[in-house]
């Protein structure tokens, strides 16, 4: 009998890129539910426009590059980019801004470098950063979350989200229903010479353990992230390092000056902390490669985010922290090559 003579190994684990990507999308579900429950259905609108735009942009880019689009559309990576961007932008954003950000993420963030696996920057953060710099007013206007004021109903949030999505002037009809995020409010308050305990005592900024609204999203993202770590889709190094890089300095600063420095709990459960630690910074393509390199990379993101939150011009800073550390990846990789078995250190 004759047989085929393909090279070893003859078996593979069969854990493919599409499966990895869809696990990531699945792990975002809890955060998505929390998001929709607290801020209305805007996220779903943003998700739909981001996914459609991302798939179209991916297909167009591959066509222009003369590649077969089918496998790339099936691998799910572009949907992860779309999801991460949709989670990062305000749910009230007019649809064309979401579409613009997504198209820029896929085209400028990914395909100009050669597509999947080649991009030095996290594509979703490229799109987010461009939108934030170019449209600061739209990008910092969020609905006041459900857990701040019990008199507002979810259906009101839904109508407002739809209006915002369609580009209506929200100030005319929905004044008071929109506002800055918790981190933004704290920033502004501290700028007006309030102390942090005074601001927190107001109750509309922070709840029991974190920022209003965002605390629950962060908690849900943490749960989804832990699922990814438990399935070994995400290894622990980057999330732990990001949280360490952010929380250790904030613990020290809060200890030194509790009047103005945000404590670690508030830092951990506000803004995009958990999303960044478990979903954004862990994008393998734009992260450092070795375990040791990933610890440095994650710690750098956490630290830069803390610096921007504390002294920078933006309330959150996770996106810029990720992009800056993306820049540092070749340098980190160069100096964190693991010792090869049998070689001197």
């Amino acid at each position: 009998m004759r047989f085929d003579t393909s090279p070893a190994p003859h078996v593979i684990a069969g854990y493919t890129v599409p499966r990895v990507m869809f696990q990531v999308l699945l792990a975002l579900a809890p955060a998505g539910i929390a998001h929709v429950a607290l801020f209305g259905p805007g996220l779903l609108l943003q998700l739909s426009v981001a996914c459609v735009t991302a798939l179209l942009a991916e297909a167009a880019a591959l066509r222009w590059r003369g590649r077969d689009a089918a496998p790339a559309l099936r691998d799910g990576s572009v949907l992860v980019t779309a999801f991460l961007l949709a989670f990062s932008i305000p749910p009230l954003l007019p649809w064309w801004l979401g579409a613009l950000g997504t198209a820029l993420a896929v085209l400028l963030g990914k395909h100009v470098f050669g597509g999947l696996g080649q991009n030095p920057f996290n594509p979703a953060m490229v799109g987010y950063a461009i939108l934030l710099v170019a449209f600061p007013a739209e990008m910092t206007r969020w609905p006041v979350p459900m857990d701040v004021d019990g008199t507002r109903t979810w259906s009101e949030l839904a109508r407002m989200s739809f209006a915002g999505f369609c580009g209506a002037d929200l100030a005319a009809r929905w004044d008071g229903y929109t506002g800055a995020t918790a981190l933004d409010s704290i920033r502004n308050g501290l700028g007006l010479r309030y102390t942090l305990p005074e601001l927190l005592a107001r109750g509309d900024i922070a709840g029991t353990f974190g920022a209003r609204g965002f605390a629950w999203i962060n908690l849900a993202a943490l749960a989804g992230g832990l699922y990814l770590v438990s399935r070994r889709i995400v290894r622990w190094h980057i999330p732990v390092a990001v949280l360490g890089g952010l929380l250790v300095p904030s613990f020290i600063a809060h200890g030194l000056d509790p009047g103005i420095a945000l404590g670690p709990t508030l830092q951990a459960f506000s803004g995009a902390t958990m999303l960044t630690a478990f979903f954004i910074a862990t994008d393998p393509v734009s992260a450092a490669t070795s375990d040791r390199g990933r610890l440095w990379y994650g710690a750098g993101i956490g630290l830069i985010a803390w610096i921007i939150r504390t002294w920078g011009g933006y309330p959150d800073g996770c996106a810029f922290a990720v992009l800056l550390m993306n820049l540092a990846v070749p340098f980190i990789d160069r100096y964190t090559v693991p010792r090869i078995y049998g070689r001197q250190p």
């Binding site: 009998m1 047989f3 190994p9 078996v11 593979i12 990895v20 393998p284 090869i340 078995y341 070689r343």
Partner: protein, 494 residues
């Protein structure tokens, strides 16, 4: 014992060993014909010492060698040499010159096969020579001549003989079966090898997923009462049985990059090799047969078979009840590092520990694999037992960047296939690295050739120069003689 340190990473795989391991070793009836490849898997062949038509008995030397990487071959059955020709073989390149012997059904034994009267009285050197003459080679999968390894261990004064009973590769369980049924042979062979290697202690290492083998070997060791002979139960993780990784698990010392286990004070031998040594010591029988696992979803009754070297694989498969379903690949070895063979007419080699007949059930995922770009997930690095960064190596391999390949340690890759196994982009990394190593070898060979050519040219020019100088000097001599006043007949005539 040194502090335990582990080799980097590794992975616990589905072992698929229960398929073949439940039943005792089957003794194969003598096949009608054997096909002995002169190259038994190391890439170096022996020289035939018989001609077509020669009558041979069991144990007659049919091919000898002086090459340290080749091993002598003996007729595993009595009969006639019917062909010496190039045939498909289970070796690199897929073909080797083979000696084909047709059996005559008798059990005539060569006169030279006599029990070794007292192996203990032989010096280590004599022992090694006798083992070389008996054609004993590593039965763990490499087929490397045992005597050559013993010599390098003595040169480097290795103190520890490490007997490898890890058998970490999926599907293979012939060592397990052998240890369970012939633990005393394994221990006897280990003691002979320990002396031949000049080692002071012997450690037998077995993975913890083989409790029956562990119990049998523990019993055999107990009967010996030798303090310098111990059993080490090690975790079942792939590739625990790879030589360097095993050395580290057992001794806590790393084998230097580019070096041999002997550089870390250890010589490794397979448990099956030890059993073959014991067989030689008790009966004088050279290496004529081995135990081989015949398994996979493509055979009717997976089992372990003791079969003569050279037995056509078709005969082994017939002994296991024949093919079942649609066999797609015939693999010599296990699922991770086994070599896919083109045909079942090839003969069993000394190095072949497993015949894995794979169907779609066994290798379907690999067959359906679609290669995607690397997403730098690093899963490959997190399992690499050599501590390499396969994703970086892959970039270097695609770019054919030789310096980067060397710096990133492509030579330290042990070809275990784990990076390939876990890669979510389904990139055939192991094969890319094999290819890169081959290109490095070729480049080194080309550079060597160029250096040789340059040197030859320079020497040639120097010789021409010397010849010209010599000629010139001779001419000058003649001229000087011609001009010398006393010698010149015309001189003084004026």
């Amino acid at each position: 014992m040194a502090a335990r340190s582990r080799f980097p990473a590794g992975l616990a795989l589905d072992t698929h060993k229960q398929q073949a391991c439940g039943t005792p070793i089957v003794e194969l009836a003598l096949p009608a014909q054997v096909v002995l490849a002169l190259d038994q898997g190391t890439g170096y062949g022996a020289e035939p010492v018989v001609a077509v038509g020669a009558a041979v008995a069991m144990g007659t030397l049919v091919a000898r060698t002086d090459h340290p990487f080749a091993s002598a071959l003996h007729a595993p059955l009595a009969g006639t040499v019917v062909a010496i020709e190039t045939r498909a073989a289970a070796v690199a390149g897929g073909r080797s010159v083979c000696i084909v012997i047709a059996g005559d059904g008798s059990d005539r034994v060569d006169d030279g096969v006599t029990p070794v009267p007292d192996a203990d009285a032989l010096s280590p050197d004599e022992l090694a020579q006798r083992l070389r003459a008996a054609g004993i080679a590593g039965l763990g999968g490499a087929g490397f001549p045992t005597a050559t390894k013993l010599a390098s261990a003595r040169d480097r004064r290795a103190q520890t003989l490490l007997l490898n009973g890890a058998e970490c590769e999926p599907w293979i369980c012939c060592d397990d079966a052998l240890m369970r049924s012939a633990a005393d042979d394994v221990v006897l062979g280990a003691l002979i090898l320990r002396r031949a290697a000049g080692a002071v202690r012997c450690v037998i290492a077995i993975e913890d997923d083989k409790p029956a083998a562990i119990a049998a070997v523990t019993g055999a060791i107990g009967r010996r009462r030798d303090d310098a002979l111990t059993l080490e139960v090690i975790p079942a993780v792939y590739p625990q049985g790879a030589e360097r990784q095993l050395v580290t698990t057992v001794t806590g010392v790393e084998v230097p990059s580019g070096g041999l286990p002997a550089d870390a004070g250890v010589i490794c031998q397979n448990v099956a090799t030890a059993a073959a040594v014991a067989r030689w010591a008790t009966s004088g029988e050279p290496l004529l047969s081995r135990v081989v696992t015949v398994t996979g979803s493509g055979v009717e009754r997976p089992c372990n078979v003791r079969a003569p070297i050279g037995t056509p694989l078709a005969a082994l498969i017939a002994a296991s009840g024949g093919y079942r379903g649609t066999p797609l690949r015939l693999i010599a070895g296990g699922s991770m590092t086994g070599r896919a063979l083109p045909s079942d007419e090839v003969g069993l080699t000394k190095a072949m520990n497993c015949v894995f007949v794979a169907t779609r059930d066994d290798i379907g995922a690999r067959l359906g694999a679609v290669e995607l770009p690397c997403i730098r997930c690093g899963d490959c690095a997190s399992v690499c037992p050599a501590g390499l960064l396969p994703q970086q190596l892959h970039r270097a391999a695609l770019a054919d960047a030789h310096d980067a390949l060397r710096d990133l340690g492509v030579r330290d890759c042990i070809d275990c296939g784990l990076c390939d196994y876990v890669c979510p982009s389904q990139i055939p990394l192991a094969d890319r690295f094999r290819d890169a190593k081959r290109r490095l070898d070729e480049a080194a060979a080309t550079a060597q050739k160029a250096a040789d050519a340059r040197q030859r040219h320079e020497l040639h020019m120097r010789r021409l120069q010397e010849a010209a100088t010599a000629e010139h000097r001779a001419f000058e001599d003649v001229r000087r003689r011609v001009r010398q006043p006393g010698d010149d007949p015309t001189d003084g005539a004026d």
